[in-house]
């Protein structure tokens, strides 16, 4: 188990505050920054939850969670930052380029990386973690 004041719980709390901030901005009628707060907040919550799940002193699974969550945020940020697709815009893998990039980073990277990392480091970092 992670200790009382650990990096994962701080990340999780910061993420929750950002998500709450995004909702409060929308409730107050201000939309501009809300999606960025939501994207950053959701990713931090998931990073904190993932690191809490991994537990302390499990470097490989911890790294996998950090990479997966980093890619998740990168995908969401690309979706927010890039120009929305147009009728005759370029396609990538059969989808508008920005959509394909978002799905590759937020979907494909974690979906491949995390299960394989879990299986690969299971004996070293998961088994016995039965607190």
């Amino acid at each position: 188990m992670s200790s009382r004041l650990s990096a994962p719980i701080l990340l999780l709390t910061l993420g929750l505050l950002l998500v709450a901030g995004a909702y409060l901005l929308l409730l107050a009628g201000s939309e501009a920054a809300a999606p960025w707060l939501m994207a950053a907040g959701s990713t931090l919550v998931l990073t904190g939850l993932g690191l809490l799940g991994v537990g302390p002193r499990r470097p490989y699974l911890g790294a996998a969670v950090l990479i997966a969550c980093g890619c998740t945020f990168a995908g969401l940020a690309i979706g927010l930052a890039m120009t929305p697709p147009t009728a005759d815009g370029p396609l990538l893998l059969g989808l508008p380029r920005v959509t394909a990039l978002l799905l590759l980073l937020t979907g494909a990277v974690p979906v491949v990386l995390l299960p394989i990392a879990y299986g690969a480091f299971f004996r070293r970092e998961v088994l016995g973690d039965d607190e």
């Binding site: 505050l17 998500v19 929308l26 939501m38 799940g53 697709p85 978002l102």
Partner: protein, 479 residues
């Protein structure tokens, strides 16, 4: 789903499907002799059945009917409901898997409230989580029983109300007889069926639109936002879905409960890989049909569905052979029945095991088995009656159920098992906040007393509040 007269093929495949479910249920029911068999499948399930059962229980009829309809209506906004599965398939194992399995074996736990009660050494925490589960179960099961009635009617043309009772009776027969042991083995068949049906239909969907690039070009010409990164509803709605379904998945008791049933913790090693493959296959239909149907409608090759929920049926009737349609209808029934079975089981456990234990009146295992069967029947009848008489309230109950599980259980369970700073006071405060806020805000939103801006959902607001309550109350009160 349209109420067309069923063809012979549809009838035959529908009957074969229900016959196989009944046969597996009967076989498993004969092996159910103790309360542990009934509630945790005797802790003897291997990796493949475990992963297939988890997948089948995770996906309700929404994955086959509501989901494709939502994609047809709002484009890739709906994709953010299933996108978090890229993380959560592994997060379930990381956060809950080995811990739940070990606690279950060491302390002979059979329910999620058992784990919460043990973690905080609190009968109140066990009782409160059981109440949250029970309240959510009735609504969630009612929603699914209604959907099952629609599917039974589509397969056999018997009418909606008889469909509700036929579907509920078949699910009840194996749920009451064999409990979760029967449910797991029926789930294996149902999960495999769902994956096969979804994959076949996805191939038909791509083929009918002449490939993904051609489908995209048709849609882009009319509405570039549809396949844009956030769909037609915009970034905040999509991101709100992402947050709620990513974090909320860790509080779904019917999935978390299954970790107790695994034969050996070492079998969890490749569970995320297997679960991910199963989920990817089973969710192909969710996106494929919605997007392909949109392109075909725009090209004038498919009539526009009367309502978004008719998208799958409209597509199937026009684009795939009737045998494949029948397979999909059976897959929808499978998705619904596997979810209903899991919820009936945890609902019965809340009544016969958790609430008496929380009140200091634990019931002996032999009586629990008999009572578990009786309460499964009662819950099933209550859900069927709710489905029949609640009108539009039934959709509200489904949303309410998912939200309540997420808001009441994620902090106490997922954070509680992984963070030693979590306290009994934090757990009680977060669960009480989840129960009260979910009920108050969902009712207020449903009755139009409040109107939330686009992108703000009751579940999202309540989930973030309950998690913050758990963290801050725990930090203030050291137990």
């Amino acid at each position: 789903m349209n109420s067309t007269a069923p063809s012979g093929t549809l009838l035959a495949i529908g009957l074969a499907y229900f016959a196989v479910c009944a046969a597996i249920g009967w076989w498993a029911s004969r092996r159910t002799k103790t309360a542990e068999d009934f509630f945790v499948a005797a802790r003897g399930i291997g990796l493949v059945p475990f992963a297939l059962a988890a997948m089948a229980s995770t996906l309700s009829g929404f994955a086959f009917i509501g989901g494709p309809g939502l994609v047809y209506g709002v484009g890739l906004t709906a994709m953010f409901i299933i996108l978090p599965a890229a993380l959560t398939n592994t997060y379930g194992a990381l956060v809950l898997g080995v811990r739940m399995r070990a606690l279950g074996e060491r302390h002979r736990l059979v329910t999620i409230p058992d784990a919460i009660g043990l973690r905080y050494d609190s009968r109140a925490a066990q009782g409160l989580s059981a109440v949250a589960i029970l309240v959510g179960v009735v609504g969630y099961v009612a929603t699914n029983v209604l959907a099952l009635g629609v599917v039974v009617h589509a397969l056999f043309g018997v009418g909606l109300v008889p469909g509700i009772w036929i579907g509920a009776a078949i699910t009840l027969a194996y749920s009451a007889g064999g409990g979760i042991l029967a449910g797991i083995w029926v789930d294996v068949f149902q999960g495999a069926l769902m994956a096969v049906a979804s994959t076949i239909v996805f191939v038909f969907a791509l083929d009918s639109g002449n490939g993904l690039a051609a489908i995209t070009q048709v849609i882009q010409r009319v509405d570039p936002t549809f396949l844009g990164p956030w769909g037609t509803r915009g970034a905040m709605v999509a991101l709100s879905f992402f947050f709620v379904f990513a974090v909320g998945s860790l509080g779904q008791p019917h999935i978390a409960h299954k970790y107790y049933m695994l034969k050996d913790a070492r079998r969890l090693r490749w569970y995320p890989v297997l679960m991910t493959i199963a989920m990817l296959l089973a969710q192909l239909l969710f996106v494929g049909v919605g997007v392909a149907a949109k392109a075909l409608v725009l090209r004038g090759e498919l009539p526009a569905p009367a309502t978004p929920d008719d998208t799958t049926a409209t597509f199937l009737l026009a684009q795939v052979p009737v045998a494949v349609s029948a397979l999909v209808f059976a897959g929808v029934a499978a998705a619904i029945m596997s979810t209903v079975n899991s919820f009936l089981n945890i609902g019965a456990a809340a009544i016969t095991h958790d609430i008496p234990k929380a009140c200091g009146r634990a019931i002996d295992p032999a009586t629990q088995l008999a009572m578990g069967r009786r309460w499964t029947v009662v819950l099933s009848i209550a859900a069927a009656l709710t489905a029949m008489f609640s009108g539009t309230l039934v959709a509200f109950l489904g949303i309410f159920g998912y939200g309540l599980f997420a808001c009441a259980l994620v902090p106490a369970l997922a954070l509680g098992l992984t963070w030693e700073g979590g306290t009994k006071e934090g757990a009680l405060a977060s669960m009480a906040t989840g129960l009260v806020l979910t009920a108050a805000l969902e009712v207020a939103a449903w009755t139009k007393l409040i109107s939330l801006p686009t992108g703000v959902t009751v579940t999202g607001l309540t989930l973030v509040t309950t998690m913050l309550v758990y963290v801050f109350v725990s930090m203030r009160r050291k137990t």
